[in-house]
Symmetry: C3
Subunit: 211 residues, 3 copies
């Protein structure tokens, strides 16, 4: 089993990503008029869900977040914050989306490298990286009773898959992880920010949908 | 790995809790006009789902319920019962809620102690205990196509978290489990029954929800 | 841990089953007007979801599909195919249902035997076999925002449970697996095809549903 002692910078980045994802989950809960508990659960599910699903699938249980109180405190703080100051956060939606893109870039790379460290090959590890990035949002939407927004045209998963694939592919080719990881995260981040800025959409099926 | 030989009384209580949860799942399925199979699945998911999710997260697989036929028989009996006598059960909704509170009190304490026995620290173990109590109902609601009712103001998860936290906290402080567990379960039970009786609600976000 | 070197014929059958299930998932996504990514995720979730849930519950992680690129390629091909030729596939719905019945028959038997090989007893192993057959479709429907269709009267899960129970029961009685498995799969298949042809329904609850 791989060492579980990541660099302090990585932990800080990870916690920032969880915080931003948790904010997005809490805002969905507030919009759905859920109570404080629902806000906290959606904050936690969005911030930690992707990593939990990945860890369960690759056999890394209990998930790291259950062994480190900071990973549980951060989504709780995000949930309580959103519960009380959601009108302000709502006005900052554009900025939240930008932070969310940072979270996505980080999660897809870290998730893919962790899956690779647990013995998965390149393609499944890249998929696990993508799942780390998008799984929390999917869980949030299922719990909130809506079809995941990332299935509805928003270009979100493709940058995550690209970043994850670059990260594990580069490491597989023998490139140093300190070079590969930032480049892969940057590709995901820039692609996602361009998609936000330009309104890029994922392709929709053509023709009659009444199959 | 901890011993899997709980006291007979605990097994009986556990089975009673599963039965009551399964009844609540089957009644939701009947209301949604699902077929017999849907009723059985929702009975099983509600009765066993919380424990399954906890066991998968803490690495206790296969879940204990899959190694003991009684844990599979009980939700099946509950499902078939509800399928045939649901009008009667509907009239007993108040009593079902009271039994459900017993199930919640039991599950949160047993779940928290099991997570603790698998090496989780106090806070994550308490969360796993709460998840054991509320996870089945959440799974029931997602499968039935509705937002989990426990996100909608009902005071349900907080008593579960309190009971779970008292149980693992007390054991951590060196108190004997035969004292801590009943006290923790009683706190959860009384709190939940008071919430039912007085109509206590969890707090809702203030102000415009149109963030 | 059991050997993971199944016969080539079984792998081919398995991939055919995954392909057909993935087509059904992709068609639901197209009907819901999801984008290409949503189509691919629903294809993958439907084709692989049942096996993933089974593997996580019996402790066979990472799931076999994550260690074999063919298991990831097949749902991707199915998703892309359905994305582009869905009007044609829609006209073939009857044939898709027949292939789906083959997939169900195969998955329930293979899933039950795998659970048995991981040490589960007859009843839980049969349930795991049924879950392998129906889990993908349930996950598809939850992600697509609808109550699982198999809860709504269609006779689908009962043939799967029968096939799974016959398979593990026969092996438990000492019968050779090369005899038991095809017979069990044939029972599931014929039952399911008859249900499709005759419009057999699972029983619905009687009386007022307004409990």
């Amino acid at each position: 089993m791989p060492s579980a002692d990541p660099a302090p910078l990585l932990v800080v980045l990870d916690l920032v990503g969880i915080f931003v994802f948790a904010i997005s989950g809490a805002l969905v809960a507030v919009r759905k008029e859920l109570d404080l508990f629902g806000v906290l659960v959606l904050a936690g599910a969005t911030g930690l869900g992707g990593g939990f699903v990945r860890d369960v699938l690759i056999g890394a249980v209990p998930p790291a977040a259950l062994a480190d109180w900071r990973y549980l405190l951060v989504p709780a703080v995000a949930g309580v914050t959103a519960f009380f100051v959601h009108p302000t956060l709502g006005r900052w939606e554009r900025q939240v989306n930008v932070f969310d893109a940072f979270g996505l870039a980080l999660f897809c790379v870290v998730g893919a490298l962790k899956a690779s460290a647990y013995g998965l090959e390149v393609v499944p590890a890249a998929l696990m990286g993508m799942l780390t990035g998008i799984g929390g949002g999917m869980l949030r939407d299922v719990l909130a009773g809506r079809v995941p927004v990332i299935f509805r045209g928003e270009l979100y998963a493709t940058p995550a898959l690209a970043g994850a694939a670059l990260a594990v592919g580069g490491v597989e080719l023998g490139l140093p992880v300190v070079v590969v990881a930032p480049v892969a995260a940057a590709v995901c981040l820039v692609w996602r920010l361009l998609a936000l800025w330009r309104g890029w959409q994922a392709p929709l099926p053509r023709g009659s949908a009444s199959v």
